[in-house]
Subunit: 352 residues, 4 copies
């Protein structure tokens, strides 16, 4: 290009900029890439490295002061963004015996996956559920919720869970609202187990006078590990093993058959001892929590050894495969239901 | 009307008849009634009256000969129609120890509700489920199914279940197909419990290579009474009692939240001791089977006392209310999902 | 079988009958047939044979007296049943200049397909639509509707349309309600064309305060032939010809993409000059009205020549194929959406 | 807090940072805001200010070189982000007589709203649609598309349209793929008007052999202004005026009744002469293009006067109201269908 033309363009760009106009032809290749090139990286957090910090935070930060005593798992390639993928937030929360996290609600959808300890509860809309390691608990969008750790059967111990939220999505779409309750804890309005009895057994209530549920979140807000674990092992015994996934179940909202919350999907999978899986990839960046067993994940060619309670993240379109020298159970969550709704989910299963 | 006009009309009608034409103005009031006036009646069959006939049929009719040893509950107002309502078929089937009912499939959807005895199984698509009293078992449209009674734990006893089918609907819409298998029983291709592990725990399988289920029937084909009973009692303890229904749960297809089969809906309800319900009515004629307890149903003003294992039918738009001097559990099924799909479901809950 | 056994069975049957019990083993083969064997027949009604009767009815039956001056097309194999298939009703209605058919509503869904004449209207919920030959007009379930023939542009002529209703279905499911309005005609509350402007152009209204439409029927209640005809010819010019159907379009409810009414589907198809179609069959018995052209339908091997305004019926599972020595346009309707909802639609396209 | 505690925390934070852990308690208030506080601003671009730059770009940038000669409307509060809201991209594209924009496809969904000039076309999957001012044209995700400006009726003129894309969403979810075709233009495989004939008239094709459309985008890819304008004026004559919206229609996918593309919704509204609307707000940040008339929008208390062809943006949760001293027609688009799918759409209509 000759100098004159270059100058003319520079003049144009400058004049355009004053009008808040930008030349697409200079940036199109970045805006419409050939394939995903996420700005975040694969990473693994060892529970044994995190635990000392969690315990130290337990000493330095009171529950009242902290509102939430959580260590945010920040993607190493996106420091300061409070995100583990571009669309998801993850953190490890510690609640000590006797502590209470006061009731609030927000448009952000949240999941709690119990990593360690017994005796804490989450309450959703006035109904508590006692949490055990491996349980998958929901606090869907705009539902009042609170937590506490009164202990169970006379024993109280520190409880740690993995928080998963859609905070970055809600921020991106500028659609976040929040509100604090006026009591430390919600009044208990229904006994524990009510929602599960009403919706958790492939049945649903028939009421004469009832407001139709308009919420998109699942009415079952606690999926006990006792059941998921048994289901996985039953299927494994039946040799229903997938070459990529092992035995994998997705949690559903029994009112729709779809994801338990509109923004976050979650799965539990068993890799039977000796499993060496094939590589696959998808556009849903995914966070994994190791429930049982030692093994490894190979992500984009890089091998990550994992142990129980570790957390790792697989970026969008990075290949992943698993090896399990012993029985391994993995919990995972991602933004998959949003990608499906947008028509943006793409998956590839490599033959070797 | 004068004689001449009457004659002229008679001539017209006669000439029309030859052309297969009929005068609407003579029949409109019948074709478009003010409200439902079903040609069938409320009725109750006492199990103690049926049982001797069932046992006698067990002597006179071999399993091989009979294909199905079933006493059809024919609505007293529609003899010879093999129907309990205009759209539904119901019958009580006896299967003796050691008997086998060979594999077949048909477009008719069927349910089995176990009334008495243990040790029999239903197999659907090569997977067996052992049946216990109170279990609700499906054989959805065009699924291979067979039955047998090998006994369980070394004990074999006669087993009786209530069959519910959409035979009259399929006949009315002229859409019935059927096919016999080439073996007495299906080969068992999956261990018992597989489908329930895969779909029954608020989870669903994730497979890399899978045909999407296109069937409208639920992948959970056995809903064990152990779970439904516990759910009902949990809700009753929580005092979640409806003035018309007591505690009522509908069985769902966990893939959709809708009815377990597209043509038949089913519910289980607990009327706690002392319950005296209000009257309601709906356009879905409904068949009830008494699971536990003695009580009474007042149908269109007529009182029917019932005992465990009795069957009764409530016609479309007849009022019904229940009284339970002791804890009562009722199973029921109707054509409700079809009425909903057609926009023809109407219900009324009377205030006293 | 020996005499003794036969007698024992006879005794059992007799005793069962008193209890309203019937032996399934004696009737199973009829209840679950190998394939559909409808009790009704293929038939064709020539408009030229019907017209004299219609006109004669116009003389002998006043509009006031008749409420509806309709000649019911009764299937020749089911006399007295007021049905053209087991599930559908069809009739030809005559409305003379100046006549009015008073407002009423019923749970039965109705369609009007205009066969001859101009200047009549149907009003649905207070909005009139002027009808032209080939127009497809709906009066969905429980909508107030009335008709009149005031003429148009100063010209008034007799108008004939084909009525299609789900009367037999509503009767079978015992779900019919009806109500007469207190005025001869509804008050006109919206100008003609309102609903089409609101819903007919691939757009839908956005209102701040609005009750969500809960009706299953289409908000577009008139589908003008001018548009359907042009669409068919455009596609035919583009050579988008199906070997079985020619060019075939189904009418949709633009709010769902599904059938215009939950119980009745309708289509319009163009068989271009020279078209000789292949045979197909389906479980939805179908009523056809000839809009344009002479041709023939071969139904279950029997050839029926047709001319404009003729009506014919193809039974469930009977093969049908079409021949068109000149451009032919056919309108058709069936119970297809109900069969789809029930999982009972089956189709077969024969290769020659 | 005492110095010692502060120091202890600083030590903890530092040590956490090395492990990619961040303290939630320091940032929670930002992550979960009380209500939306979007980082972008209300803004208006006058067409008369943009046009000179567009024409100058027409001189300096050839079509071949530019691939896309588009001026991106960058939100003034987010320079360098190529975004008009956080989730949407908008730009004005110029195509000169004789130019061709080569075929490509990408997962990004795009809309074209024609602002000025006649004679250009967009082709989607081998079918062209000639564009006129006010037409709304889609190129849904992963559909091949190209453009050209051959003129019409012997006249060729510069054509300008508004591009709306979900580029920021696809980037945020890391789900973008793109591919160039191997020809400058797609081969024309179907005549113009084919898709509209097949899907645009409240009808849909019935084909014997057809792949079910799995795409989420509308099969109608051109919504002509002739129809939308007439619909709006018909409803305005019927005085169906909303106090906030005037007469407003949303474009639908006639196969679902939902938005034309899964990520972008679009509307057209008429503000009749003299209309002075009430304030409303929603979580869907919205881009408007003025089709006809002069008027003003008051956004978050700030008044923006507008003229035909101007573009303006209303941020999430900012109030907006309109005044129309003459008939005004506005086109608008937003991320509303995604917010609905995520359960994040919230709206408020203020009473004065």
């Amino acid at each position: 290009m000759n100098t004159k033309l270059l100058e003319a363009r520079r003049d144009l760009y400058k004049s355009m900029q004053e009008q808040c106009l930008a030349p697409l032809w200079e940036s199109l290749h970045n805006l419409v890439p050939k394939q995903p090139a996420p700005p975040y990286a694969a990473a693994l957090w060892r529970y044994q490295d995190i635990l000392p910090h969690l315990l130290r935070a337990g000493e330095l930060i009171t529950a009242e002061e902290a509102v939430r005593r959580v260590l945010v798992l920040e993607n190493p390639a996106m420091p300061g963004r409070s995100s583990i993928t571009q669309s998801l937030y993850a953190g490890l929360q510690l609640i000590l015996p006797g502590e209470v996290a006061p009731a609030h609600r927000h448009t952000q959808s949240a999941l709690r996956f119990i990593v360690s300890g017994k005796g804490a509860y989450t309450a959703v809309n006035g109904e508590r559920t006692t949490m055990h390691p491996g349980d998958f608990v929901l606090t869907p969008s705009w539902n009042w919720h609170d937590h506490g750790n009164p202990g169970v059967d006379g024993v109280a111990e520190p409880v740690v869970w993995l928080d998963g939220l859609d905070i970055p999505m809600v921020r991106f779409f500028d659609a976040g609202f929040a509100e604090n309750g006026d009591q430390a804890s919600q009044s208990v309005v229904r006994p524990e187990g009510h929602s599960f009895a009403a919706y958790g057994n492939n049945m649903a209530p028939v009421r004469t006078v009832h407001k139709e549920r308009k919420e998109l979140g699942s009415p079952v807000f606690s999926y006990p590990y006792a059941r998921s674990r048994e289901a996985l092992h039953t299927l494994a015994r039946n040799e229903d093993i997938d070459a990529w996934h092992g035995v994998k179940l997705r949690f559903i909202n029994p009112q729709t058959g779809g994801a338990p919350m509109p923004t976050i999907g979650a799965c539990m999978q068993l890799l039977p001892k000796g499993f060496s899986g094939l590589r696959h990839r998808g556009t849903d960046g995914t966070v994994y929590s190791v429930v049982e067993g030692h093994g490894s994940a190979t992500i984009g060619g890089q091998r990550f050894a994992f142990a129980p309670r570790d957390t790792f993240v697989v970026p969008s379109w990075a290949t992943v495969s698993f090896d399990a020298p012993e029985d391994v159970v993995l919990f995972s969550f991602s933004d998959r239901p949003v990608l499906e709704a947008m028509g943006l989910l793409r998956e590839e299963f490599l033959p070797d």
